[in-house]
């Protein structure tokens, strides 16, 4: 296992992402709401660049107390990154596929040291 340099924290603003390759590892690193997350950049579906697509909040149904459908909204808490090839959505904080949480991208540990961001691959 090696620590692979990703970026300096100061040069990696919140809301952005970086990509690193190390041997067979193709890794997407996200900086989101003060935390760093790193996953395999290979979609579990057909191998698309899973981490390179849009970041979208989870769409939720709004169901009334009487069980009637009242519309839809974007989640205030759950955010996903979306594989740009076919739309597979992954929970940005877990790497789980939002449509089937039994599916999960390989997760990499992120280490912060001396103002730098590393992933362990």
């Amino acid at each position: 296992m090696a620590e692979v340099f990703v970026a300096k924290v100061a040069e990696f603003p919140d809301g952005e992402r970086r990509f690193v390759k190390h041997g067979p590892h193709d890794i997407g690193v996200f900086h989101w709401e003060g935390q760093f997350f790193a996953y395999s950049n290979i979609c579990l579906h057909q191998g698309g660049p899973a981490c390179e697509g849009l970041i979208m909040h989870q769409v939720e149904d709004v169901i009334g107390a009487d069980k009637t459908w009242q519309g839809q909204k974007f989640s205030d808490t759950q955010v996903n990154f979306v594989c740009p090839w076919h739309g597979y959505e992954y929970d940005l904080r877990t790497g789980e596929c939002a449509a089937d949480r039994r599916l999960r991208l390989k997760k990499y540990n992120v280490v912060l040291r001396g103002g730098d961001v590393y992933v362990v691959a």
Partner: protein, 406 residues
């Protein structure tokens, strides 16, 4: 530069888009799997013909319709006014980014946009020959003016033949037939047979004329005599009365793309069209595969009880169905792979199945969807990915590789 609206009122600025870069992982797959060792033919792919609509309209035969269409295309409506269309969310709110970003993709200098962009994704996937079809014009069978379907079909086909097929031998097509006018369809068959890049004829399935109508027999006879295949390309129509009960695009897409081909296939088989035109080869495009075991079981079961309604049949409906050809996309990948394996066996996939990507549409399939199937031997993989199409279309590439596999 383009700015995309995202969730929670965020915005994303994008400066450039290159589908070759977006498909870098596909190129990697091509290299890893040795696609340079055998030909791959994609029997259903697409372009966005409205990006070249001004060019296409120059080929319109009717001067009044031409002026109407040109004026509509010049205004803010961009084609609305002459093209039937409807509600649809293929791009999933931009999540499939090639939809919004393709407008900033640049072709190679001096090469027609459709040729350049098509070659780009073909090379990334390792595809040697692509059969190219339009996108919005798949709805043209719903045009309320039959003469407009006819005029647009002539314009599109002439444009495609001259500007795309004549230029790039790796791109082929099956010519759109304006099927709401059988006489004009027959003229179309005669006009385009033998032209460079013409590998058959195509009927868009979303329409409301039965394929067994007597007025079509002369068309089938002509295509059979030419020895070219006839394809039915699936589609959806949210305005279909039963589909209008559905409130989501996923619902209309999932059911619609199978529904019309089910209707046409039922009519085709039970009216014994394969017996009347035994040498006419048919291809059913873009309905996936899961509908076929259903059709075979359903029709065989009822036929054995009600054969008096179908006296033209000389064998079970399912036996005609397994003589036909099918494109693979969107191939359902069930959690239980044995279901897919049984489907392949049921439809004689090793000889009847033709790989298709449907690229650049949202649910495209890479060649690896076929290549990686654990129950296929290497010979079957290669047949489905290219060999079957080489035989069906009598392609002269043999085992040659035309794609630039990295």
């Amino acid at each position: 530069m383009i700015e995309l609206p995202l969730s929670q009122d965020r915005r994303l600025k994008v400066d450039e888009f290159d589908s070759g870069k977006m498909l870098a992982n596909a190129a990697q797959q091509a290299k890893q799997r040795g696609y340079d060792q055998f030909p791959i033919v994609d029997v259903d792919s697409h372009h966005y013909e409205l990006e070249s609509f001004n060019e296409i309209l120059e080929y319109m035969p009717d001067p009044v319709l031409k002026q109407l269409a040109q004026m509509a295309n010049a205004g803010n409506s961009k084609g609305v006014g002459v093209m039937p269309g409807g509600v649809g969310y293929q791009d999933m709110g931009g999540r499939v980014t090639r939809y919004p970003l393709r407008r900033i993709e640049k072709p190679e200098p001096g090469v027609h946009r459709d040729v350049s962009l098509t070659r780009r994704w073909m090379d990334a996937m390792g595809v040697d020959i692509a059969v190219l079809f339009p996108s919005p014009m798949l709805q043209l069978g719903l045009h309320p003016q039959v003469e407009a379907e006819v005029a647009l079909a002539w314009a599109y086909n002439r444009w495609l033949a001259e500007r795309v097929l004549a230029v790039e031998p790796r791109i082929r097509s099956m010519i759109y037939l304006p099927f709401n006018d059988p006489d004009e369809s027959l003229k179309m068959v005669k006009a385009f047979a033998g032209k460079k890049g013409v590998s058959g004829f195509m009927v868009t399935s979303v329409r409301y004329r039965p394929v067994h109508h007597n007025s079509y027999m002369k068309i089938y006879a002509a295509i059979e005599e030419l020895g070219l295949p006839l394809a039915f390309h699936a589609g959806y129509n949210w305005n279909e009365q039963s589909m209008a009960m559905m409130n989501k695009f996923i619902s209309v897409h999932a059911i619609g793309f199978v529904f019309y081909n089910m209707v046409h296939m039922t009519n085709w088989v039970l009216n014994a069209i394969p017996e009347r035109f035994p040498k006419l080869r048919t291809i059913w495009i873009e309905s996936g595969l899961a509908w076929l075991p259903f059709m075979i079981q359903r029709l065989d079961n009822e036929y054995l009880m009600r054969s008096s309604e179908c006296p033209g049949l000389k064998k079970l409906p399912g036996e005609y169905i397994t003589d036909m050809f099918y494109t693979s996309q969107p191939m359902e990948i069930p959690r239980d792979t044995s279901l897919l394996e049984a489907t392949f066996k049921c439809i004689k996939a090793e000889s009847q199945l033709l790989y298709s990507s449907d690229y650049p549409h949202w649910d495209f399939d890479l060649p690896s969807t076929i290549y990686d199937l654990p129950f296929l031997k290497e010979t079957a993989r290669r047949s489905i990915l290219g060999g079957n199409a080489v035989k069906l279309f009598n392609l002269d590439i043999g085992a040659k590789k035309l794609a630039k596999v990295a």
